[in-house]
Amino acid sequence: AQSVTQPDIHITVSEGASLELRCNYSYGATPYLFWYVQSPGQGLQLLLKYFSGDTLVQGIKGFEAEFKRSQSSFNLRKPSVHWSDAAEYFCAVDTNNNAGNMLTFGGGTRLMVKP
């Protein structure tokens, strides 16, 4: 069965520092991979997605992610974090269970930003 693991439940970084959020997936076929962000009391907003092609994908708000098939990873990065980036981040894989497509989410990583 497909699964997504985000090893870090909480991460705290200083404003202006670089950020990397880890994501590992388990899926037999070529995955469609996503990163979503959830601000407190809000819904999920798509940051970026990978379907095929260039393994380094650019997203909104200055985020990027790199797909590494050999490591089954899709880590999210940002070179300089802003206080407004504090939120919950979810990695997800789109899977098709022969009936339809659905997102399988990781457990989320809560990002806190220190001034």
Partner: protein, 113 residues
Amino acid sequence: DTAVSQTPKYLVTQMGNDKSIKCEQNLGHDTMYWYKQDSKKFLKIMFSYNNKELIINETVPNRFSPKSPDKAHLNLHINSLELGDSAVYFCASSQELDSYEAFFGQGTRLTVV
């Protein structure tokens, strides 16, 4: 102009009651979903509908009954509410043959007391 909208945003109710959550999308998507986010923020799919037809039903109790009157609407009715049903419920939509990107509503926080 909200793409995926859910009502209500907050719902507090007593055990045993029956309640509904409504969802509408104006993106012209063919597929709609309900996801449940528990108190630990874990997100899991409950149902998906494609063109008003139930496609995915992920071992959800029979007390939960989705209904899709048309492809722009997917409502969730819950009978005999239990304390464990307290969660945030998210509606989402996507265009299956397009980018598979799911657009989410703002969520409905259900609290059963």
